[in-house]
Subunit: 164 residues, 8 copies
């Protein structure tokens, strides 16, 4: 999604194969009309570029960073080490350990450098975007209203479900 | 900690025994002079009071809710279900499964209702407070400066460490 | 299944996608001719409606609540917090952690608010219904006789199995 | 606890060392004045006596069986195989795997023979007794009133908690 | 396999669906020309028949019992409780927890009642038969020679493997 | 324990620190008056001596090998690779992973080379000895009688247990 | 790959079925033009040949051994016991436990006999080869230059990734 | 340990509290008279200094980097991202998850950036140093002789062990 003003949320992921999952975050942010950008940046294969990107995020006007990675998932932690912005981590579902490795290496951060971690896989991607919206909404009343409508629609959808 | 203006952060926990861990969050918030309040509220033993407290949080001016619980740790999820505010979850270290149960029941939220989850135990308590500070700092430049100094002090402390 | 008298068992599930598993409970209850109703109600997306539904269950004559959910599976615990009726929990097999998250967040309830938890997935759905039958049978001798016949048929089926 | 009328609840455990945990169930049942009996019976070391005890439970007027065991915890499953009564299982916290083995071998019962499983350790012991009370209360209104008072007292205790 | 003399090894399994795995044991025993019989017997659905079968095994001349089950896999433990013969357990690969539940509920037997446990799934089925052969071979030199040849053939097969 | 005739059971362990656990096996074998020997031999630190010891076991008249190790516990598997005798494995309770590593690396043997694995820690040590007794008893009726008395005494002990 | 000079790296695997994964190591070593050889050798089925192969590796000029195995994966540890050369272990993704067993039985080596362990499955195979290259490059500047180019190409590939 | 020539091995750890474990690596390297240095450097709290230190390691003559960290243990991965040198990772035993988090976040590196991972805790610290020695010994025959003597002494120590 290209944004007219600078992006408010950065969505970065360690590998292009994570896009299949992270497009869920992109869709939610688009639905809320949040200016954002999505990038592939690896904590391990492009450490300098990742550090530089994250170091500059604050001055570019970004307010939340969403970082997704799998396996020994260091991306969110590396982001958090390089910025004062809130960082949200999404553990990818990994091939062998089904995301338990991604989850533990994203959430078990040492005291001092927080990463707010969401669920493994698509639900986590979706929720990272929604948590970013909630954070932005703290100082944007119109956005909070949209969030209220989103929640109401979601509730109504459940209430309309019928079983065979 | 009593606060002169209304609290910006609510720290709630499922049991008084969680205080030993959650005082770490209280201390960090105090150190940053963030008006906040700490309460014992149980998703299971006081569901109505918990729902009511969380329902009113937004209108009381609270901007972030930190919820800590152990075992089948539903508190953060229940909070998230009742508010549009960002909710951060801290999994307590449980007696038998060492917090793995607390972690999974806090972090694995379904798409639609996010909880930003921190590490199990004291590091998570500390980091929930720091993430709340980062969220508040998005619209409070002076707070971001304090956070920058905190990070710098933390960095300098590591760099001064000497080994025998 | 529509019931002529009011339902004795409520089967609720967090998402319509759980029906594929929970129809096993529906079938068992139907087989025993237990009046019951099946509903989609989410602890997180419809918290008020869930609380209201559970609050009224006792006065509607319901005697057992079966609650099924996956991931951070709070539904059974939330039900148990709102009723004095016996609550049985069925952990859904989740996408990434294969139901370990669902199991731990259903079974590891704190002292005071019990959830009787069954196995992950279809076997658990089936067994939740059978345990509900056993509970109802305590004060309904005819139902216990049916249960005795069910068990006998099940035993005979095993004894008739032949291997190639 | 000796009971004037025949026991309504049987609490059995695989080893005398489980008593330290299971006295929590005994205390709750005593508090609710439920006639009950506590016995050591092992699925593995006294299989015939266990089968005989459980086979006779229904005719002795017992309405709920609580079975506690650790490690390869077969006691609850073996009870369930021998009775039509509702069986509740309490996984003991085991020495090496901290009760994960006890939990899985109690809860993962195959379709057809249900065990309603509670949390690992003392919280589970306590909750097994409370779930037994809820089951008995279905046909005993006075007991349900006591349960309502118990829950209220428990709620009030949480609400009275103060933090330093 | 029907055996001319009475069977030396009993292979029992909790469900007919385990046969797909346990035929590996049947094949190995057939290959070594060990008289044996394979039966479906459930610890939970046919407890009396299982106990009776195992109680009589010793007097029928059986020397080793192989028991296979999944989930809360109590079959091997229940066998061991009813016989002085060596009992070998094979944990089935279960649907949700991939056999971790079967493994722990088979291997973690309390002191006093041993079950010699093999690997989860087909490798375990095969190895249970080979361990039974090794046990029988202690007093049958001709069988030990066959086992020696089997091992040699197995070794030679590995040594002949070529990679592309 | 020195034995007048050659040993029938070899108890080997990877480290002297395992003796605290394995003395349970030694005591059981002593109680049954089984000639046996206990040795420290490491799969990793003394591979040649271990291989040689195991290679010679059969010709020395040994009938069962019990091997205990912790962590990446290869000892039982290495023994099994070098002998046709039945090999029983005892996983030690390890410092960090509490024996889960020891268990998986002992029990998950590939098809072709079986290790009959017992429980983690002291119960496993005790049961390895009892399973060895059961194996030896197949061709020693007097030993089976002793085992019958042992089981009876064990059963009677449970039946005599009284609760406060 | 046949090599003109003697091999510098030995890639051994416990079963031919591991080749599907380990060809990734073969490809990387080929890409760096490292003389190497790939062999099937089993710790359990061909212990003598494995020991002999590893014992001779040093005198044949091999500098790094890569060993891959699954389940109770003893191959890397057995190699390490027989050589002073650096041994790298690759845990195979196993059928039931998804490689957790392979990982723990490769990495949890006791003090004194190290195995440098890589990730489960293909990523680990690839990385074992790359770590072998890094080790060889310590005394081969031209190889380090190739490694630098490899890393640069890898980085550039990430930077060129575009999202839809 | 100060070294007269420049260090060949760098031992870095994320926190001073890791020293209690990592002194085992220091002692082994000292025993082999390998010039080395030990430093506290955090991937999260001092990311720039860590990157700079690792970037310069190769030009300073360092040949192996040993990195130790706990929880979401990113230090070894971050080192590997910044150097072509072989990086060995030591997972610290963490408070709540006992090092499983540290292990998975160290070992499960994505293809392209290898970390050779050792066991959790002191055994891993010791073995990281021994693996570094083995790597250095590839081009230093005298060091390989020392390693041979170390192994021999270790073997002799096991062979001298006596049991009570």
């Amino acid at each position: 999604m290209t944004s007219r003003q600078g992006p408010l949320v950065a969505v970065i992921m360690g590998s292009k194969s994570d896009w299949e999952t992270m497009r869920q975050a992109d869709e939610i942010l688009g639905q809320f009309e949040i200016p954002h950008e999505c990038r592939v940046l690896s904590a391990h294969r492009t450490p300098a570029e990742t550090a530089q990107y994250v170091d500059q995020a604050e001055s570019r006007g970004i307010e939340v960073i969403i970082a997704a990675a799998g396996g020994a998932a260091h991306l969110a932690g590396v982001c958090a080490a390089h910025t004062l912005l809130p960082v949200l981590g999404v553990p990818m579902e990994s091939a062998s350990l089904k995301g338990l490795d991604s989850l533990l290496s994203t959430v078990q951060m040492p005291g001092g450098i927080p990463v707010g971690t969401l669920a493994i896989g698509p639900a986590g991607a979706r929720n990272a975007a929604l948590l970013a919206v909630a954070i932005l909404a703290n100082s944007r009343p119109a956005l909070r209203d949209k969030l209220r409508q989103f929640r109401k629609a979601q509730r109504d959808k459940v209430l309309r479900e019928t079983l065979p």
